[in-house]
């Protein structure tokens, strides 16, 4: 696997992101809406329920959401590559498919992490304050892990799904549930049993928890378990994604 190939494909993803202003602005609108509408809208109720500062609780969840959407979208972009024909150019290149998938995934994950950092900065403007500064570097690592995990998931899905209907289906049946059942917007304590099972099976729950922990909030699952789950699932998805990507015929 030549590093130049990985770098070339990584650079392509990053350039595409930087050039799509509409996408950057559009993808910031949603987190902004969540921070304002939910952050201020539910803040009073949250405080009265004895849970403290809602913005502090919500902000890491919204960062995770932003990363989730960007990462899945980056992975699923292969559908676009297929549609515009560029996928063929990559598939006939004398490069192992694994390298193609890996380079793309790294690029997509970089973009998603940047997106998460931008939401972090926006949240600062709304009054979000990390309370445990020494743990802050962990936040970056966690963002990267979440990004890698969901870019790999997106890639795996796009290797199987070939058209836009399929893409819409993914957004509605997979991405939204991943977000809403992750503890990004509400605490995971005292939930009905069914929800407990679903949220515990959702890898994003561990990402949100780890992110929250690294900003200084109390942890739900423990940082070790969080990172173990994130890293484990990421590895599994990369392997599965590589196998699926390998089977593509153009």
């Amino acid at each position: 696997m030549r590093p130049a190939v990985l770098f070339g494909l990584w650079l392509r993803q990053v350039k595409r992101y930087l050039r799509s202003r509409a996408r950057i602005i559009g993808s910031l609108g949603q987190p902004l809406l969540f921070l304002v509408a939910l952050g201020f809208g539910l803040g009073a109720v949250f405080r009265r329920a004895g849970q403290g500062d809602y913005l502090k609780f919500l902000a890491p969840g919204v960062m995770a959401m932003s990363i989730l959407f960007t990462a899945i979208f980056s992975g699923v972009e292969i559908i676009w590559d297929r549609q515009f024909g560029f996928l063929k150019e990559m598939l006939v290149a004398p490069v192992p498919r694994l390298a193609i998938m890996f380079g793309r995934t790294l690029g997509g994950a970089t973009v998603a992490t940047v997106q998460g950092l931008i939401v972090f900065i926006i949240a600062l403007f709304f009054g979000f304050r990390p309370t445990h500064l020494p743990r802050l570097p962990w936040a970056l690592l966690i963002m990267l892990l979440i990004s890698l995990l969901f870019t790999a998931l997106g890639t795996a899905i796009a290797s199987v799904v070939e058209d836009f209907q399929g893409f819409q289906l993914i957004m509605n049946l997979l991405v939204m549930p991943l977000f809403f059942f992750s503890g990004a917007i509400y605490p995971l304590q005292g939930l009905p049993r069914a929800l407990v099972i679903i949220t515990k099976a959702n890898p994003l729950s561990y990402g949100v928890d780890a992110l929250r922990t690294s900003f200084g909030s109390a942890t739900e699952f423990g940082m070790t378990l969080d990172i173990a789950v994130l890293a484990g699932v990421t590895l599994l998805l990369l392997i599965a994604g590589a196998a699926l990507f390998n089977r593509i015929e153009a």
Binding site: G8, R12, S20, F84, V92, P94
Partner: protein, 270 residues
């Protein structure tokens, strides 16, 4: 490694089925090294399916293929290193510039940096895009994209160059340039050329040998002169029509075409 007198493309009893439909039905042919070989046929005859199998994008249902001494079914990388392709459909990244598309291609094919940059400059001049090198491809016309794709297919100096209807949408001047360049490349660099086209006069002019495929089977192989003689016709076009009949073929929309239609609808909705 292959011997010098061994054909550079060897196809034996190749069949490709999609469900019940045999798109390619038991074809065999050889292309000697250094030849310009034209593969002609009406729409849906099996040309593109054959190219896809030769270029490792599709696996044959049965039969065997060797390209530059490698078997596309088992040694895909070996084949891929030896070939260049200009696809029938666009395959550029619209969000990158002309130069960036070529640069990424050079990186993927492992062309060393200095050589790569040098060739990119030459090729951009050749296809008359040097002054547009830093423009995004999405701003290009159809003809400009075509020219860029051709430059890209040549960048790594392949042993075999596949051109799948490369001149569609090009004006006569550009077509002329393209074929002179391909002929020169074939002579100077000993690049074998495998091409498909609907323009019979192009095949007549550049190809040393021509195979005509219809309904997934090869129905005639030979030089343009031989085909004309065989069918007692004056032009290759007449020979082609005599061999394949004059009914118009409808090509079914491929999954990619269907997807493009959805994409257009989807963009409009946004």
């Amino acid at each position: 490694m292959m011997a010098d007198n061994e054909p550079i493309i060897e196809v034996r009893n190749v069949v490709k089925r999609f469900g019940d439909f045999a798109a390619v039905n038991d074809i065999s042919f050889d292309v000697p090294r250094g030849e310009i070989f034209a593969f002609l046929g009406p729409n849906g005859a099996g040309k593109t399916t054959t190219i896809r199998m030769l270029t490792t994008l599709l696996r044959p249902t049965s039969g065997s293929i060797r390209v530059a001494g490698h078997d596309p079914a088992h040694d895909q990388e070996g084949v891929r290193r030896s070939i260049g392709i200009v696809f029938q459909d666009p395959s550029l990244d619209d969000e990158l510039t002309a130069w960036e598309n070529l640069e990424l291609h050079g990186v993927l094919y492992g062309v060393a940096r200095t050589l790569r940059r040098q060739r990119i400059d030459q090729l951009l001049t050749l296809v008359d895009l040097a002054n547009r090198r830093d423009d995004l491809v999405k701003q290009f016309s159809g003809g400009m994209k075509r020219r860029l794709e051709i430059a890209r297919g040549l960048l790594h100096h392949p042993k075999v160059l596949f051109l799948d209807e490369p001149t569609i949408g090009l004006d006569p001047q550009t077509r002329n340039h393209l074929w002179s360049y391909v002929t020169r490349l074939n002579q100077d660099e000993d690049v074998t050329v495998f091409l498909t086209t609907h323009y019979m006069e192009e095949a007549d002019r550049v190809a040393r040998r021509i195979a005509i495929i219809d309904h997934g089977k090869i129905i005639a192989v030979g030089s343009a002169a031989e085909l004309k003689e065989q069918t007692k016709t004056q032009s290759l076009e007449d020979a082609f029509i005599t061999l394949t009949g004059s009914t118009i073929r409808e090509e079914e929309a491929s999954p990619v075409d269907i997807m493009r239609q959805h994409a257009r609808a989807w963009r409009r909705r946004r």
